[in-house]
């Protein structure tokens, strides 16, 4: 009995109940299971297999979700208070006769039930036709092709900036929690969190574009000019900074929180007792342990970034896809709206999957069960 217990105690934690052979397992074997002792290499290989399995499972999961989201979108559009005819006819809506409206409605299929419209859209989609955007009078593919790069530029730069600022300030604040920097930064975060991005955008325009005249207020280029690298960069500064600032608080508070938590853990005391100097403990023990929860938060809250991008693009007349979501929703421009909605859904799901993969790679304890 004693030998069996000794064997079990020697088994690495988390391998569950043992088989009768536990007593014969060499007591240094890492993670033996079912009486066999896989090597550390096997452990790592198994881990990678688990992560790939998670990726496959989650990618498969995207299919039913996008199907449900798109169907829900078409159903909701049918019952929305907006009339697609208003969007289509614009100012002519008031001057068009009811008979003409009925004809146009029928031609454009506005009076068909939503599932019929939806089915048509799905068939076109699988035929490689994204349809025509009524709001922009362009094929959807062209709208996306022209606008997506600008959104990626804006959102990508803003997210990168926000992550860097949040990491640097969050770690500094967390390491010396309760200090002046920590209290200042935390208070500022709370204030910024309470400011909606459009208020911040308008304030930024009022101060830096109108009052000081340092930066352009809106658009991608100065009126009518061809886009140049310098010109675009000048126009990029305000929206990027506003979008980044609007994302910084929750990122920063998350970093700070996980650093503060890590700081009080036994492993920090352990490193101190082994004589590891404080800067090394921060860099090689606290930060690596805090990063996984941080990446997790980034993944979970990607929708925040999308919402922020929509608002900022609107206010700054940035010619990206996020702003086009608002236009297409108002006009019930279903072809474009459906593509953008599904695109956003997929971006959020793939983003959070990517975050989970990074977390699983960074923290060997994280389960990949989904």
């Amino acid at each position: 009995m004693t030998t069996v217990q000794a064997g079990r105690e020697e088994r690495p934690a988390g391998t569950g109940q043992d088989a009768g052979q536990a007593g014969t397992v060499p007591d240094d074997a890492p993670r033996p299971s079912e009486g066999q002792a896989p090597s550390v290499q096997d452990l790592r290989r198994g881990r990678h297999r688990d992560i790939w399995a998670m990726v496959g499972r989650r990618l498969l999961f995207i299919v039913p979700v996008t199907a449900a989201v798109s169907a829900g979108l078409f159903a909701a559009a049918k019952y929305s208070p907006f009339d697609p005819l208003v969007g289509y006819l614009g100012t002519r809506y008031m001057t068009t006769s009811d008979a003409d409206k009925a004809i146009i409605s029928e031609q454009l299929g506005f009076d068909r039930p939503w599932y019929s419209t939806y089915w048509g859209w799905v068939q076109d989609l699988f035929g490689g036709d994204l349809g025509l955007s009524r709001s922009f009078n362009q094929p959807v593919a062209q709208v996306i092709g022209e606008r997506l790069p600008w959104t990626l530029l804006l959102a990508g730069t803003a997210l990168a900036l926000a992550v860097v600022v949040a990491l640097v300030l969050g770690i500094a604040a967390g390491v010396r929690s309760g200090g002046i920097l920590d209290r200042g930064v935390t208070a500022l975060c709370v204030v910024v969190q309470g400011l909606p991005p459009f208020v911040m955008s308008l304030a930024a325009i009022a101060v830096f574009a109108l009052a000081l005249g340092w930066l352009p207020a809106a658009g991608l280029t100065d009126g009518g000019a061809d886009p140049t690298v310098g010109g675009v960069l000048r126009h990029l500064v305000l929206p990027v900074v506003v979008l980044a600032i609007s994302q910084v608080p929750w990122l920063l508070l998350a970093v700070r929180e996980s650093v503060v938590t890590s700081k009080g853990e036994d492993f920090v005391a352990g490193a101190v007792s082994r004589g590891i100097p404080t800067p090394t403990i921060t860099r090689r023990h606290i930060v690596p342990t805090s990063l996984a929860p941080f990446v997790n938060i980034v993944g979970v809250r990607l929708p925040e970034l999308v919402v922020g991008a929509v608002l900022v693009e609107e206010v700054f007349s940035w010619p990206g896809v996020a702003g086009a979501i608002v236009t297409s929703a108002r006009d019930l421009d279903m072809a474009l709206l459906a593509f953008l909605t599904i695109g956003t859904t997929v971006v959020v799901m793939v983003g959070s999957l990517l975050a989970d993969v990074v977390v699983a790679l960074m923290d060997p304890r994280v389960s990949t069960d989904g």
């Binding site: 030998t3 105690e9 007591d27 890492p30 993670r31 090597s39 550390v40 352990g270 007792s273």
Partner: protein
């Protein structure tokens, strides 16, 4: 190459205004090449002594007295702020796995310790020394069993060839076979010349293995009795030591009356009489009386 604790008193103020009496006027010598076991029930202040030796008392702790580590280079005051951890005094923590950073392998942390301390050892060499297959070092802490993690912790403590090793309940979560192995490892460290302070509540293992050279018995932040372990086990002088030993299964399993006292806002003297009213060694001003190489706490002679 020895550890000397002199008149150490540690008080931990709590946010609610009360004060934890963690150690009261504790004096203890751990000579080189020996193991001194500090025993007592859970919550008597033993572990605070480990934190104090490593100068890792909780923030806000008030202390008086001194702790000196004698190294081949001379005497070292652990509270002086000089780096000494790992190099002159090392800690074997209670829950070894949680004292390793979870997202890095045991090897990476052992290597880091070796580099930091400028030690000539290698991690594989240390692993072999503590009876661990070197390939186990490539595991993450959560992949190690309790016994393996404890041996990694001992390896980490040995990295800098310290003069003093403090083991804080190193066998708390281990079964008998593993307990004996870890205690055997500490014995080897002592035989190699280290001064080992073994903090434990597991008297049964001490009696069984005879690993300790000297014994110090603590109750409610105070030392009750010290002396050569074999003599104290055979013939305890303090009533508390006798009660503690009497509770062992091998000695009749007589439970101690009541429960160990809370350490918050203790009176300024020994409180054992509150638990065992018939004792004649507590209940007034007490002092440690030295007789040869043994000492015990008893009521002060009223002249």
């Amino acid at each position: 190459m020895s550890l000397r604790v002199e008149n150490l008193t540690v008080r931990l103020p709590l946010p609610n205004g009360s004060v934890v009496h963690a150690a009261s006027d504790v004096s203890l010598d751990v000579p080189r090449g020996t193991i001194t076991a500090l025993v007592g029930e859970s919550g008597c202040g033993k572990s605070i002594l480990a934190s104090a030796v490593m100068d890792q008392l909780p923030a806000g702790a008030r202390r008086s007295g001194s702790i000196t580590v004698t190294t081949p280079q001379g005497a070292l005051d652990v509270f002086a702020g000089e780096p000494f951890r790992g190099l002159h005094a090392a800690l074997v923590p209670q829950s070894a796995a949680t004292h390793l950073t979870p997202v890095r392998t045991a090897r990476s942390q052992l290597d880091e310790t070796i580099t930091t301390l400028g030690s000539p050892r290698t991690s594989d060499e240390l692993a072999v020394r503590v009876g661990l297959d070197p390939s186990a070092l490539d595991c993450y802490p959560h992949e190690l069993s309790g016994g393996m993690a404890q041996r990694v912790a001992v390896a980490g403590a040995l990295a800098g060839d310290p003069s003093v090793i403090v083991a804080d309940e190193p066998t708390a979560s281990l079964d008998r076979a593993l307990t004996d192995r870890v205690l055997g490892l500490l014995r080897e460290c002592a035989d190699d010349g280290a001064a080992v302070l073994l903090i434990t509540h597991d008297l049964a293992s001490l009696v069984r293995t005879g690993v300790a050279d000297r014994l110090a018995v603590m109750y409610a932040s105070r030392l009750m009795e010290t002396g050569p372990a074999a003599e104290v086990f055979d013939d305890p002088w303090h009533d508390y030591t006798r009660d503690l030993l009497g509770a062992l299964p091998s000695r009749g399993l007589h439970p101690l009356p009541g429960s160990p006292p809370q350490l918050t806002d203790l009176p300024d003297d020994c409180v054992y009489f509150l638990r065992r009213p018939e004792t004649r060694q507590s209940g007034g001003p007490t002092a440690l009386v030295q007789v040869g190489d043994r000492s015990y706490r008893t009521l002060r002679e009223v002249a």
